[in-house]
């Protein structure tokens, strides 16, 4: 198994996610970039679970997928509320807690 190649893939995916969060200003693309960061972490967990023949990594990856689902549920609810009050999806224009 090419563990080093997989780790480098995970690093590249992580950096793509970080760049997406920092550069894009659309809240949907920022949310998807955060999901990409979580997926890179999951990839490392599963690679090391396979390398050390320990199911702990897979259990933690399972919990992390659950966490991502919860995050998307709350995040999209917030986006719907922001769209209703601020009428925008650009994070630079969202600067008030109340409208």
């Amino acid at each position: 198994m090419p563990y080093n190649g997989i780790l480098i893939m995970a690093v590249i995916l992580f950096i793509i996610g970080i760049t997406g969060v920092m550069v894009r200003r659309n809240i949907f693309i920022m949310l998807m970039s955060i999901e990409l960061i979580l997926n890179a972490a999951n990839l490392v967990f599963i690679a090391f679970a396979r390398a050390f023949a320990d199911p702990a990594g897979q259990v933690i990856a399972l919990l992390s997928i659950t966490l991502a689902a919860a995050e998307v549920g709350v995040g999209l609810g917030i986006f719907v509320a922001i769209r209703r009050t601020h009428n925008t999806v650009n994070v630079d224009e969202i600067n008030l807690l109340k409208h």
């Binding site: 999901e35 390398a51 199911p55 897979q58």
Partner: protein, 162 residues
């Protein structure tokens, strides 16, 4: 040997789709590229004896999260001026910071040498993961179930009209 080649193919596909995801202007296109990233990662999981997690990845991420994101983007129906991105000096600095972080992580990962041992054939099956989840990792499992419940209630409360 075939598995190694397939892992590299899936990895290249995931990285290409990830780049396309952050480069496309329209969030619907980005969401579809994001679905392709998740599919390729599911392929890598399946090749690394995580069959159960590969199925969960397709069911939860591709089947639920991507569809939910596409649905909400279509529901919000924002106007086109939101899609126009401006190139500012801050974005240039952000890319430079990301490049520095990339080189740093690459140095760290390049110094590792992971030999790995061959896992038993039943490794990664649903029974094996279920046993570990419900015995050694029971407490994290219960905590994440409470988190999921709170997230469902909170999502409904935030999104509903008052």
């Amino acid at each position: 040997m075939l598995a190694t080649m397939l892992i590299y193919i899936f990895g290249a596909l995931a990285i290409f789709s990830g780049l396309m995801m952050i480069l496309y202007r329209n969030p619907i296109h980005s969401a579809l590229w994001f679905g392709l990233v998740l599919f390729s990662l599911a392929g890598i999981y399946a090749l690394m004896q995580a069959h159960f997690l590969a199925l969960i990845q397709i069911l939860v991420y591709v089947g639920a999260i991507t569809v939910l994101i596409v649905y909400v983007i279509a529901l919000l129906n924002f106007d086109q001026r939101d899609l126009v991105g401006k190139v500012t000096i801050l974005k240039g600095i952000a890319v430079i910071v990301a490049a520095i972080l990339f080189i740093e992580l690459l140095f760290y990962v390049g110094g590792l040498y992971v030999k790995g041992i061959a896992p038993p054939p039943e490794f990664g099956k649903a029974a094996n993961i279920g046993l570990a989840t419900l015995t050694r990792y029971l407490f994290p499992f219960e905590v994440i179930s409470i988190l999921l419940l709170v997230a469902v209630v909170g999502g409904v409360y935030i999104a509903k009209k008052d």
